[in-house]
Subunit: 175 residues, 4 copies
């Protein structure tokens, strides 16, 4: 089982659409997966699930359990302000340390409407995940200009992007 | 006027105590300042002040206005999971771009209970601020082992730390 | 006086050509500048100018003096293997610490044949410069696909790139 | 076979001594290894083994072959100016891309005389290695205050450091 994380709490995000694209890709490759969309986070989780409240928010715990059910993760992260979203970092800040992370393996996908493709977002996220004991697949996929490339059927117009995601998925299965 | 930002929404945080220490330091140096504590963020700001709701949350807007009232900032950031807090990134994600950041100047202070002293937190935060057009003072101060060094009177037992903060404050005034 | 550093020891590099482009730009803006090309480094400087030999290599010292003669720098760095060149880092490793860096101000330009535009190279270089006490201008300019954009007359075909460099140069003069 | 890289060209470096410490550790764990000391690099390799000369320097090629003979690497890097040495980056810049890196696995050890322990050096090196297709073990070991901890018999006085290196070595064998 692989958990595919849409790494923003923005409703109906492109990250969520790419997460579903990735799920179809994994299905084609014969691998079971589930999508975890941070848009389902309780609105006040940054207080009600952190600090003195760690572990006490049922809605948060449900999402944490979905993540924990898989040893391999795909994290799809948009680029907000040159890094990954505060909502994703807040989610990580609320997870039990180090049990949630140690021994896990993650593949990263970065999205941006501009030309960066989430490069710096993925570099920062790698620093955080490795600090927590999660191995990160070296193949990190940048999806720049995602506004143009993601079409109405949630397919990707860009063949290079499709190929890179497929190679990454195969590498994650073998990681 | 300098705004000193306590960069976590944890209630009664050490970051807040260091922010007040910094305020006393600036007062000694003859500079006016105000403390902005992210613990005052509305509990649900990650939804109610972001995305379609940017600019619509009065509580959030009040904090944003405090930040905007100063051209120089001190950002005191704890280290959570090898980077800066999700709450601080979420606050940045909700601010108006690029007006909130362009032309501002920031000094960074990192705290940790371990030996890092928020080094990586400050490196990531620098990447974000520079991306947004804020100049970052090269003197970034690490305060490792803050649990031991911050005493009951909110003073710092560590003389080197006191000296580094003083040098940083002087550099910020001249920046 | 501004020193423009071509940040690789590759002979006849694109970084050198961009450095000369930048010099013409500064001349137009009425600012004096000089180009320092790391291709002039002594071939064996990584041994003959470092460690026990710091300060003992005349050829290296000559280049270090050119850098030191200016308080403002433009550093043009290609992207080699996802970061800035080893030759540039080696040059930095041989400079007298902290005198060469403290109080200096730097503007960064990144080049790549691919789509990154030296983003990560500039992020790493910023970490190093700030560690050494050099202030880095927040406006960092990425020049992706430089093979296509740099023409035979050492002009830039890309208007956005020309505009970003001009804005950066003006910001450096005011920094 | 594991190659342990002493990541500086400084003669008789502490990185080399830690590399030999690591070799004894691997021997205890029943794993074969070899030490590759960048002090053996030809003095002028930054010119004679790069750019138009890639692959043409026999001395450089000999070291590259030692690296290539192993699928797993331990890279021991000192911290020079807030990052890893220019000599190590230059060595990487001269290796054949991507054959030298793709599919390799690396464990990183950082050294510093100060309190950082090479944290930023290892973060930058991780960015480079992952860009090149090498998987990096999440357990990165910081050895701060190495001047005090490395004793005359090339043992480590610090028990925590010894334990972290042992755990890292076991994790690398299982990676």
């Amino acid at each position: 089982m692989i958990t595919i994380l849409a790494g923003t709490n923005r409703p109906h995000s492109r990250a969520r659409r790419i997460a579903h694209y990735y799920q179809r890709l994994l299905t084609e490759l014969g691998a079971a997966s589930q999508v975890l969309d941070l848009a389902e986070l309780p609105a006040d989780f940054l207080i009600s699930a952190l600090y003195a409240n760690v572990g006490r928010n049922d809605g948060f715990n449900r999402l944490a359990a979905v993540l924990d059910a898989a040893d391999k993760w795909v994290i799809v992260t948009p680029e907000y302000n040159g890094s990954f979203p505060g909502a994703l970092k807040g989610f990580i800040d609320g997870l039990p340390y180090p049990n949630a992370f140690r021994g896990k393996k993650a593949a990263l996908v970065g999205l941006s409407s501009g030309g960066q493709g989430g490069l710096q977002a993925m570099a920062h996220l790698t620093d955080v995940l490795m600090y927590l004991g999660t191995a990160v697949l070296p193949q990190r996929v940048r999806l720049p200009f995602i506004n143009q490339d993601l079409n109405a059927e949630d397919g990707l117009n860009n063949e290079l992007s499709r190929q890179l995601l497929r190679e990454q998925a195969l590498a994650l299965l073998a990681f």
